[in-house]
Symmetry: D2
């Protein structure tokens, strides 16, 4: 695994936990953790349960005892690592967004397609697909319970930089992060929308905005906090993004991603209205799916608060009894389960790098549209 910050911790917990709670067809070994700082990566490996460490990801790609590379670094390094790993015959799990540009994403998808021919698998980490309530929503859509989709409204609302004095982080640096709220969290909202509807966005009108253009430079980890606060650096990504969308199948979409919605901590919300019913989800109450069945008599019709914690619900049988909810990191365990199962079965896991590329193309069209002030068609 490359990277050991927030995503690294979540992935490690998943690699440790999935084999303990699920019947996996293969037994993953957590062999090597990669980070540039030898000291820090050593401490992280010990804490997180990795057997060895490396300071250069290139050496890992060359190691024979590595079958799969899990990429948890900022987006600017995804392409190099993923392509090298795929070319070396390693399966790849890559955090989202797939890359910082469409060009990089295309090269990655090409590499994935080539590797696939030799049985090498690749997957991009849109883990929210694997929250049980979302997987249940997908099942209901596939069963036709929602009918033809007419509306998708999706929001991903956070507030962690609503305060103008919140420091610059790599996530506010276009070189590292590619984009701001749009790529970091808007990507999730978009992926969920396309995943749940089984449809793709073909045209967008976007609006991006940076509310706070300069911020205090974050001090080094070691704590030069005193001096840091006086110096400021530019924010080079969007603070917030909104866009309208047309889906190929005719549905209308309304999307919003922001880190400036005070009080909304991780509100990834999606609501779908179709010709037979509606679905609604909010990650801040992640074990719940709301479902409205238009076939119900008006006497008793209403949004049902389905607690997606029944053994019949996706992924749940491996965990606890009904009503004993899961948390954020469980989606990562389910990702490991699905990835390992696909590798063992010799099939391609989803979402693929092609899926990641398509998300990238939509986001790119949103940025273009925001600049041109006109609707933008998403290239097929």
């Amino acid at each position: 695994m490359v990277g050991y910050a927030f995503m690294g911790a979540a992935h490690s917990q998943a690699w440790r936990t999935a084999p303990r709670m699920f019947d996996l067809p293969l037994a993953p070994e957590m062999s090597v953790l990669v980070g540039r700082d030898e000291h820090r990566v050593g401490a992280a490996a010990q804490r997180m349960g990795w057997a060895t460490t490396e300071t250069d990801w290139r050496r890992v790609v060359e190691r024979d005892d590595v079958d799969l590379v899990d990429i948890c670094t900022p987006g600017d390094t995804h392409a190099d690592i993923a392509i090298a790993a795929l070319e070396a015959g390693k399966h790849v799990l890559c955090e989202k967004p797939l890359a910082n540009s469409v060009d990089e994403a295309e090269r990655m998808a090409d590499a994935a397609r080539t590797a696939r021919e030799s049985g090498v698998r690749s997957m991009v980490g849109f883990t929210y697909r694997r929250v049980p309530a979302i997987a249940l929503a997908k099942r209901l859509v596939e069963q036709g319970r929602v009918g033809q989709v007419r509306h998708v409204r999706a929001q991903y609302l956070q507030d962690w930089i609503a305060d103008p004095e919140a420091p610059l982080s790599w996530r506010l640096d276009k070189k590292k992060a590619g984009s701001g709220a749009l790529g970091d969290i808007g990507a999730h909202a978009l992926d969920l929308a396309q995943f749940l509807t089984g449809d793709t966005v073909v045209e967008v009108s976007g609006n991006l905005r940076t509310f706070v253009t300069e911020r205090p430079i974050a001090s080094d980890h070691a704590g030069l906090a005193g001096t840091a606060s006086s110096e400021r650096g530019p924010v080079t990504v969007d603070d917030a993004a909104s866009f309208l969308a047309q889906f190929a199948g005719g549905a209308m979409g309304v999307f919003e991603a922001t880190r400036f919605a005070y009080g909304r901590k991780n509100a990834l919300r999606i609501e779908i209205n179709g010709s037979k019913g509606s679905l609604a989800f909010d990650f801040e109450d992640m074990n719940v799916l709301e479902f409205y069945d238009a076939a119900e008599s008006s006497d008793t019709a209403g949004f049902r608060r389905i607690l997606a914690t029944e053994p019949e619900h996706p992924y749940v049988a491996a965990w606890w009894p009904p009503g004993h909810g899961l948390g954020y990191e469980h989606g990562f365990s389910h990702q490991v389960v699905d990835l390992v199962s696909a590798i063992a079965a010799g099939v391609d896991p989803t979402p693929s790098f092609d899926d990641g590329l398509q998300v990238q193309r939509v986001l790119d069209a949103v940025e273009t549209s925001s600049a041109s002030r006109a609707w933008q068609t998403v290239p097929a």
Copy 2:
């Protein structure tokens, strides 16, 4: 109508509104308002739309142009007025609780039974039965959607005297009010529970409590506020009441009524769990009924948030389109509709004085039980 405070205002709004929104078989005339203070009752009558006034209810009972007496006074006067009115052949609508003692209630129920033989109708004002969401709940129970009832948990939570400096009012005076939270709001919770289940409470174990035993004496309306705050008088009723209950049909009940639940303003809540499903209601979100259907597949089972604002729902067709909710006073208009319709049809409206008496008996058993620290059987 006798009395023109809070209940008088609500009843007046209902008498004015019901004929405008519903097709009533009779056209009610608001002829006379009664109050002891000539000046005040005159102002109230003009404001509320009553044609004339009286200062002694006895004269109203004698008037030939009065067909119905609506009693909105404190509980200590209910028996005298109601019995006199019934004996004079006037239909009677009496606010709850029916009376301040079982003895009074029995005499009232006797009078109502006698009057009924001459076609004189009587009704006690448990208006919450006529909130559309509650009336819908009743319909679902009658349709067997809940099955055999196993649990009833009902709470009526308010906070208007949680502050020990809140002044004494007649509602805290046993002579006027009969009891405190128990009779004022616990009566509503109990009536709803029995109404919805169609069952009666036969045995109780109660716990009553007065948290604040002395309070500032409320100044006269004219405003001697300065001197008032220094004088204190005793609170002679319960501040809060809780009781366990056994229903004749085997269900277990848990009841609570309090004016000390900070943040709960008018939280009349009831939840019923049966062998086929569950219902839940909270008056603070009064247009909603929650319903869980145990027959649903576990995939999609969940409490439905039914917005009881469809034309198919009880009373709603006369009002606004779906989603345009009703408010507190609409239950009073529905009470007028049902009462006037029953009178026109020559049938007895519900809840009857017998129903009111039975509620009184349960509340009396709760008080007895709280004192004796043992379960108490409710006399049949």
Copy 3:
């Protein structure tokens, strides 16, 4: 009052009720109801409490005993009636949308400005401003509790024509209604957004859509239902509208209006995120305002569910005790209170016809933008 359908009923209830619950400086008399069908308008007048009737609104405008004309007709007649009434020196209350075109709205606003010089008042009926929870939200914004507004997300979701077999009504006819979801309900969402923020939308990107282009022609009231269902007519307005917006003050807006959101009955929702806090409202739970105060310690910060039923909340003191919620029509009573108070005080009520015109311009820009597939500036 001209018109006696849904809006006529709501306005009548308000004219009857406001003087009974509030201290009005003037005593409104409900003198004349206007409708084209003599028989029907007569029945309506009797039911709703109007003293006389007319079949031509022109005669009312000429009557000396009429001081105020309340217009509750479809949008295509607003301009003619309002301008004539204003020119005749009558105060005018006009239902929204102000008109079916910007041109009409401009002429109405001109007439209102001229009339104002002679002390004649005019007001457009965006009643949702007068829901207590909304009026409280406005107060909090004015007190600076939200800070600089960054995001407005507003939706007005209904589902009454989600079924393709729902019949054509005048609201689906461009000639009568001007537009569909956009003008009927999107106008409310837009007005609320501008009212609450105190800011105006200056640029929009819109997307309009008609999902069901033909519908059964509604039978005549008298009931030729049998033949009606076989004939179909065209839907000439939008079924749903979405638009992005830029506010003059820099806030980003995301708007949506639809009649195809199954399960959402009257979900007028608005959320505002500012530099100091956030507000959220949903009309389906209309007595509640949610407020997040960013100044709170993180230990106890959270959206507060404010039950806007305290006497300190706008309009509430005239009604019931805390927790005894209001309903849909109460906003209309508050509208009467504010209008009559303004007339008595000799000041202009809000929202003015200029406000209605500005809303019309934004909606017009949304339509233009949807057709041109490019952002559109709203004329000042």
Copy 4:
């Protein structure tokens, strides 16, 4: 660890995870798993990550390489194992309820008190105390934000045996489980109530009930399902329990525990009303604490939905960013953290065996009271 069913799985996940996410002062080793069936315990140990197995817990108590015994068996074996372990100088973590009888619990508490003198620690597994939202509630009570407690209403509602055809399990067998809903889940509600208020229940009036007295005998794991369904066995414990309580400090309590509340899957709910504010929690939305501060101005007072996922909230800093909620098993990890920290610090962890004994005494009084139909004092 002894036992490897539901609780064993949860405890194992905690032992594996706590050292990975928290800085523990000691490094726990998962040395030995105990179960009677050699084959099954072997498979479980491998799955759950235990190094070795034993089939007799007595041998574990004798092993020198074991420092701590974690008891996850049904209640009838708790006393024997715990007392032996404590006498052998092993620290003990024992699942709740502490024992199946007050007598056993007293002997265990005695053993714990004796062992404590030699620095041997003991703890009973009321893990819900360690849900962050609950730990935050405790902090707010200790800070005086709730004031003097007047009301506690606590419910633990499940529905897993609401169907009369649900099979007999050891949890319905008095010999194994001691009691039914009362001891299994009512114990949690009671512990939370006493923990949060810092007060103890001194008097109770109880009502126990078994709705379904016979059930199908569960087939052996190997699957004799066909024959099993025809045979029935008696349910020897309560299906549901309710009780009123008086706290030493004067608060009134209302408790309910049931497995017959259709639609409530794991609804452990507690609401506390005090002289300064109120708190409310529902485990079905476990990352949320609701708090009402009576000191707030009435304009903005309301229950706050605190998402207890901030780094400042108890236990949260070790996990994910704000809004990324935790799940059921996290409380078990926090239990490991607190237990290991207490052992390392040489202090006694809580809840102690004395706390477990006191809970047992209250539950015993509830059972006695239910039989005698009178209030019962809880022995000190």
